[in-house]
């Protein structure tokens, strides 16, 4: 009786351990396969560079920046008008800075990744540069 009970505990333990390892390995494989660890910091750096580039444009601009196939919700925030923070629902945050100027940057926090494809809209007008999520019909 004692031996059977102990064997059951081992069986449950090994199944639980296998499930945990399987989930962890699957998540890791998914992150590597979808290149999330590269795409998220790339997005932060690219948006920061986009603000820098828009300052150099001699005129008004409207620009659609397409993002596709992010596997989770990602929040994009312009902190104190000089850095872009990209924060996924799970995992590391990435922050990249830019040099503000005239026009000033007025951008609220917004999220992407809930749809298969999202569009970030950059608008430069005379007095401001803004980035926001564009609702695609």
């Amino acid at each position: 009786m004692q031996k059977r009970g102990v064997s059951t505990v081992f069986a449950i333990f090994s199944i639980a351990a296998s499930i945990i390892i399987l989930i962890a390995a699957t998540n890791l494989a998914k992150r590597v396969a979808t290149a999330e660890d590269v795409r998220q910091p790339f997005l932060a750096k690219d948006i920061a560079l986009m603000f820098d580039a828009l300052h150099a444009v001699p005129g008004n601009v409207q620009f659609n920046y397409k993002t596709t196939n992010f596997t989770q919700k990602i929040t994009i925030d312009v902190i104190e008008a000089n850095s872009v923070k990209v924060a996924p629902l799970f995992g590391q945050e990435y922050v990249f800075s830019f040099r503000p100027g005239i026009p000033t940057i007025t951008s609220d926090e917004f999220s992407i990744g809930e749809n298969k494809a999202d569009v970030i809209e950059f608008i430069k007008s005379d007095s401001k540069i803004a980035a926001s999520k564009k609702e695609v019909k």
Binding site: A17, I21, R31, P41, L49, A56, F98
Partner: protein, 152 residues
């Protein structure tokens, strides 16, 4: 009974080490992937410098000449009346996280005018650029010497 007890102890040891080793391998893989996956994102700092120099020469909020009648902006044409440190520090505001600082020298008919960003201290690289200078409607050829600090 002694043999069975020994068997159970052996299994427990096996599973304990098995879980520990697999967990360590997974953690190591996460760190390795993270380290190597971020390396392609390293950008040549001169890319940023180019973007900022474009801002100085192309934005009407910096030094680019803007025709007051038509509203046209002439990218690459420096409005001499705008070439002041005050305008430079408004179009390129201080950011402690951003490493680049600039010293701009406008050479017009042999006469040099130099302005600097707020935190500029040491010249690391100097790049001369040929520009047009608009001095109260009179257009001349000139040179903008861009001094850069903050290249690692």
């Amino acid at each position: 009974m002694e043999a069975e007890g020994y068997e159970i102890g052996k299994k427990m040891m096996f599973y304990t080490f098995y879980v520990l080793i697999v967990a360590l391998v997974l953690i190591a893989m996460v760190f390795i992937f993270r380290k190597y996956s971020l390396s392609p994102l390293e950008t040549n700092p001169l890319v940023y410098v180019d973007v900022y120099v474009e801002r100085f020469m192309g934005s009407p909020d910096c030094f680019a000449y803007k025709d007051s009648e038509t509203g046209n902006v002439y990218s690459g044409m420096i409005d001499k009346s705008k070439f002041t440190a005050d305008v430079l520090n408004k179009c390129y505001k201080k950011n402690i996280e951003s490493p680049f600082e600039f010293s701009l020298t406008l050479v017009d008919q042999g006469k040099e005018t130099t302005i600097e960003t707020e935190e500029y201290s040491v010249l690391q690289r100097k790049t001369p650029l040929f520009v047009l200078i608009n001095d109260k409607g009179e257009i001349r050829k000139g040179t903008l010497v861009v001094g850069i600090e903050g290249i690692k």
